[in-house]
């Protein structure tokens, strides 16, 4: 049958046409097209990679930020705690000192009061003695302004001695 018998002419034409088409398209179409597609794919991949990297960096950055924040928070807490302690210590120190000072003042005051009192008492004693002497002097003077009385006294005294 003619249908399944190859014709040399058509075979030759097909071969020649396909060969020419193959070389022309390979050189002027397939190579630039495939090259450019590959380049585009590479650039897309690169873009995706860099986007991924950027996201990772962002995540790292965020983690760092979080860490920093945490650290700062902790530091703040520590500082606050310390400050509170210092405050409390200061308050307690101050009150202690104040107590001490007050006690010392009170003691000093008591001391001076005691010495003043002693001095006053001594002075009063001396004054009283002087006054007593003056009074006694005046009384004696008044009692012994005549001879009789002086004699009487002497007698009394002598009596006392006798008694002794």
């Amino acid at each position: 049958m003619d249908l399944i018998k190859p014709e040399i002419g058509l075979f030759v034409w097909q071969t020649v046409v396909l060969l020419i088409l193959l070389f022309v398209l390979a050189k002027f179409a397939w190579r630039p097209i495939l090259g450019s597609i590959r380049k585009r794919e590479e650039s897309i991949n690169e873009a995706l990679d860099s986007a991924k990297k950027a996201r990772l960096e962002m995540e790292n950055l965020q983690a760092d930020n979080e860490k920093l924040l945490q650290e700062a928070r902790e530091e703040r807490d520590a500082i606050l705690k310390e400050a509170r302690q210092i405050k409390e210590k200061m308050i307690s120190d101050a009150s202690e000192e104040a107590d001490n000072k007050a006690n010392a003042i009170i003691e000093k005051a008591q001391e001076s009061i005691r010495t003043e009192k002693k001095a006053a008492l001594a002075e009063i004693k001396a004054q009283v003695a002087n006054l007593s002497i003056e009074i006694a002097e005046k009384v004696v003077k008044k009692e012994l302004d005549n001879k009789q009385k002086q004699m009487e006294l002497v007698d009394n005294m002598l009596n006392d001695v006798k008694l002794n």
Binding site: D2, L3, I4, K5, P6, E7, I8, G9, L10, F11, V12, W13, Q14, T15, V17, L18, I20, L21, L22, V24, L25, A26, F28, A29, W30, R31, P32, I33, L34, G35, S36, I37, K39, R40, S43
Partner: protein, 375 residues
């Protein structure tokens, strides 16, 4: 007549350039396929003895020819004359096919450079020295004529050129886009690019492998698009049945075979001629089987493509031919929807066959270049 034909050709060209919807295209295809039948029918009326012969009609449509017949018959037919190029014993002889005046019964003798030629069922015969007319032997073959080497631009060759032009226009435009900018193209170029990527990612890389596929990409792409576009153009009304011609598919299969033979590595040949790992006495037997397999692979390729495309054309023509065999217009009510359905199926087959041919070529090449891991 030529003027009329020119006008018709122009109007057809315009039709091609304007964007036709898919539906319109199919309807038009079916409509124009009916044309030859109407002409046959008219002929039948005027010459009652010449009855409608479905086999002749179908063979006329699926076979190659020296002129491109569109529609009509006799002197009114719209025919594109094509150059006849013959390589005779005395060198090349060339003339236009119109010099045969539509004769395919070896009645009209063309005389050129002192040699006489006739067209007998689209085969050119050169009459022996001194012969004036063709005489036929008992098997209805010309007895006093020889066939010279026929390198004519036949209908199929012309259709092939059309495919080449379409491919060059399409892919030069795509290449131009790619040279200019790096972004993805739009429209037709985008569709073409996704097909190029389809061939690369779904055919070449899985079958041949990431390392070696690039070397075979030009062949696979060219063959894929050549077969597909030719198949699609073959579905147009009045078009040639290029990929359904055994000469064409033989050539395509030869390309695959040559690529396998040239690129087959040592391992591949070793597995063909001296299969390792089997008893020695089996090795020669297997070598014969493997060598046969090497040849059968591309032969299967060429037969598959030829048979599928030709079968599709025959089915459509047969369904429509039923109308004229049964001589009732009512049959068209069944035939036309059936033919329409087959036509749509053919659109799928056009792609499928291109895909299968490329896929199997890639598979066979992949087997030949594969690096075996020795255990």
């Amino acid at each position: 007549m030529h003027r009329i034909f020119e006008e018709r050709k122009l109007s057809r060209a315009n039709m091609r350039t304007t964007y036709l919807s898919f539906k319109l295209l199919v309807v038009l295809t079916l409509g124009l396929f009916v044309h030859p039948f109407t002409s046959f029918a008219q002929e039948g009326d005027s010459e009652s003895e010449e009855a409608f012969n479905a086999t002749d009609m179908i063979m006329h449509h699926i076979s190659d020819a020296h002129s491109w017949h569109f529609f009509g018959s006799g002197e009114d037919a719209a025919v594109l004359p094509l150059p006849v190029i013959l390589y005779t014993d005395d060198g090349l002889v060339s003339f236009m096919s119109s010099e045969f005046h539509h004769d395919v019964e070896a009645k009209h003798v063309v005389e050129k450079d002192g040699k006489r030629f006739v067209n007998y069922h689209e085969k050119i015969y050169q009459l022996n020295e001194g012969e004036e007319t063709v005489e036929f032997n008992a098997e209805h073959y010309p007895a006093n004529a020889e066939r010279p080497l026929d390198l004519s631009i036949t209908k199929n060759v012309a259709a092939m050129f059309l495919t080449v032009i379409v491919m060059l226009v399409f892919f030069f435009s795509l290449a131009k886009h790619h040279k200019k900018n790096e972004k993805a193209p739009r429209g037709l170029n985008n569709a073409l690019e996704s097909l190029v990527l389809f061939v690369r990612d779904d055919i070449a890389i899985p079958q041949i492998g990431e390392k070696k596929y690039m070397k075979f990409m030009p062949f696979l792409l060219t063959v894929f698009f050549f077969i597909w576009i030719t198949n699609l153009l073959g579905l147009l009304p009045g078009a040639a049945n290029v990929t359904g011609n055994i000469s064409v598919t033989v050539s395509l299969g030869m390309f695959t075979l040559i690529l396998i033979v040239v690129n087959g590595n040592r391992d591949y040949w070793k597995h063909i001629f001296w299969m390792p790992g089997i008893p020695t006495f089996v090795k020669p037997i297997l070598a014969v089987v493997e060598v046969l397999g090497l040849i059968i692979k591309p032969v299967a390729l060429m037969i598959r493509l030829f048979a599928n495309i030709t079968a599709g054309h025959i089915i459509i023509l047969s369904l429509l031919g039923l109308i004229f065999i049964l001589e009732h217009v009512g049959v068209a009510g069944i035939s036309v929807p059936f033919a329409f359905f087959i036509m749509i199926l053919e659109l799928l087959v056009a792609f499928l066959q291109a895909f299968i041919f490329t896929m199997l070529s890639a598979l066979f090449i992949g087997m030949a270049v594969q690096e075996h891991e020795h255990h």
